[in-house]
């Protein structure tokens, strides 16, 4: 990705040209960044242009040997790198290490097969389950309480209340409460019968 500075880099004025206010501000900001970088406090956040320029400054310094990895940093990096790749069991000596890198590598190689195998097993199990649950001729009746009507007592199933209420005359249209009471009493009676038939058990 080209930065803004990449596009402007061809337009660098001579040293004696007066800076614009914006260039002056940018120059001061960059000077402060260099200050911080030289004292080992490079800010993590900065504009892409500033970062690009600071990288150039660091490249110059690195080429002249101004930047070395401190021994403590170096040891830490080596330890981190080794820790990434190997782990030392508590019971083992320093020379006897178990490679988690090998394990990771093996796992990485096998991962696609493991995923594919697991998916296949799950799919096979799902198909088997579906096959086992395919409704047979009697299943429709078992799953449908209305269809089961022939096998169970009348009061156990959903049924029309027409027989209880009968045709509603226009002048009795407002007696819905009485009709509901009648239906409720009938259904409660059926419920009690069923409950008693089971000896009071649910």
């Amino acid at each position: 990705m080209a930065t803004q500075d990449d596009d402007n880099v061809a337009r660098i004025p001579d040293p004696d040209v007066e800076p614009t206010a914006s260039e002056l501000a940018h120059a001061r900001r960059f000077a402060e960044l260099v200050d911080k970088t030289l004292s080992g406090r490079t800010p993590p956040a900065m504009s892409a242009d500033d970062r690009a320029l600071l990288e150039v400054a660091t490249v110059i310094r690195a080429a002249h040997g101004s930047l070395e990895l401190a021994p403590s940093q170096q040891r830490a990096v080596v330890e981190d790198a080794l820790r990434q790749a190997i782990s030392t069991p508590a019971s083992a000596g320093r020379g006897q290490v178990t490679s988690i890198a090998e394990g990771r590598s093996r796992l990485r190689r096998r991962a696609p097969w493991i995923v594919a195998g697991t998916s296949t097993l799950v799919a096979a199990a799902a198909i088997a389950l579906l096959w086992l649950r395919v409704p047979g001729p009697g299943d429709a009746a078992r799953g449908n309480p209305v269809a089961r009507g022939a096998e169970v007592p009348q009061e156990w199933i959903s049924r029309s209340a027409d027989a209880l209420v009968g045709p509603i005359a226009r002048d009795h249209a407002g007696d819905a409460g009485a009709r509901i009471d009648a239906i409720f009493a009938d259904r409660l009676d059926g419920f009690r019968t069923r409950r008693l038939a089971r000896g009071g058990k649910r």
């Binding site: 040293p15 000077a31 320029l53 080429a63 990895l69 020379g95």
Partner: protein, 208 residues
């Protein structure tokens, strides 16, 4: 863990070969002296000059060393140091980082060019020689680019970035105010960057 700076630990080729063979047999911890020996030259002459960012360079170094340990079984001893192999891993990591982060186009282009030129498979020099050559090559490139800058820009870079004088001292040496010196350094680094990138865009010779 070594208590002395790793660069002071001598590591002869025979010892290096023995450690590598141990590591290849599964004792990966045998890689420790090798990593301690080569971490500094990898950081100072291979990674940092190509990245320009100390924090990223440290990350790349860590990643390089970890990859080396993980892939040590693939390394074939050819009677010379493992350093060129480590260096190539580091260069690949740097290149990947440049591509992933889409850093400065010019700087990245310069690095790609440099990789091709320096990855000469015919080189059989030992680790120290390679590191010294690489350090000199970097410095030469920087110096050649500096020579292309106007004198005041060159002075600004030399005083501030190479000699690491304070802004006040730099301004005093150049006879300007601190604000003017800031502008000089800012323009100088931009000019350097321009010329550094242009150099990389020259036709390549000798690389494949």
């Amino acid at each position: 863990m070594a208590s002395e700076p790793a660069t002071t630990v001598p590591l002869e080729l025979e010892q290096e070969q023995r450690l590598i063979e141990e590591a290849q047999q599964g004792h990966l911890d045998a890689m420790r002296p090798i990593l301690e020996r080569y971490a500094a030259p990898l950081y100072g002459t291979v990674i940092l000059p190509r990245l320009g960012d100390a924090a990223s360079a440290e990350e790349v170094l860590r990643d390089t060393l970890a990859t080396a340990v993980e892939k040590i079984r693939r390394f074939t001893w050819q009677g010379k140091s493992i350093y060129p192999w480590l260096r190539q891993i580091a260069i690949n990591k740097v290149y990947d980082l440049h591509r992933q982060s889409k850093r400065s186009r010019r700087l990245a282009d310069a690095m790609v060019h440099e990789i091709a030129v320096e990855s000469d498979p015919a080189s059989h020099a030992d680790a120290q020689l390679i590191a010294d050559q690489e350090r000199r090559a970097h410095r030469d490139r920087i110096d050649v680019t500096l020579q292309q800058l106007q004198a005041r820009y060159r002075s600004a870079i030399e005083l501030r970035l190479i000699q690491e004088l304070s802004r006040e001292d730099c301004a005093r040496r150049l006879g300007v105010t601190i604000g003017t010196f800031d502008v000089l350094l800012f323009r100088a680094v931009r000019a350097f960057r321009k010329h550094f990138g242009e150099r990389a865009e020259l036709p390549r010779t000798g690389d494949t």
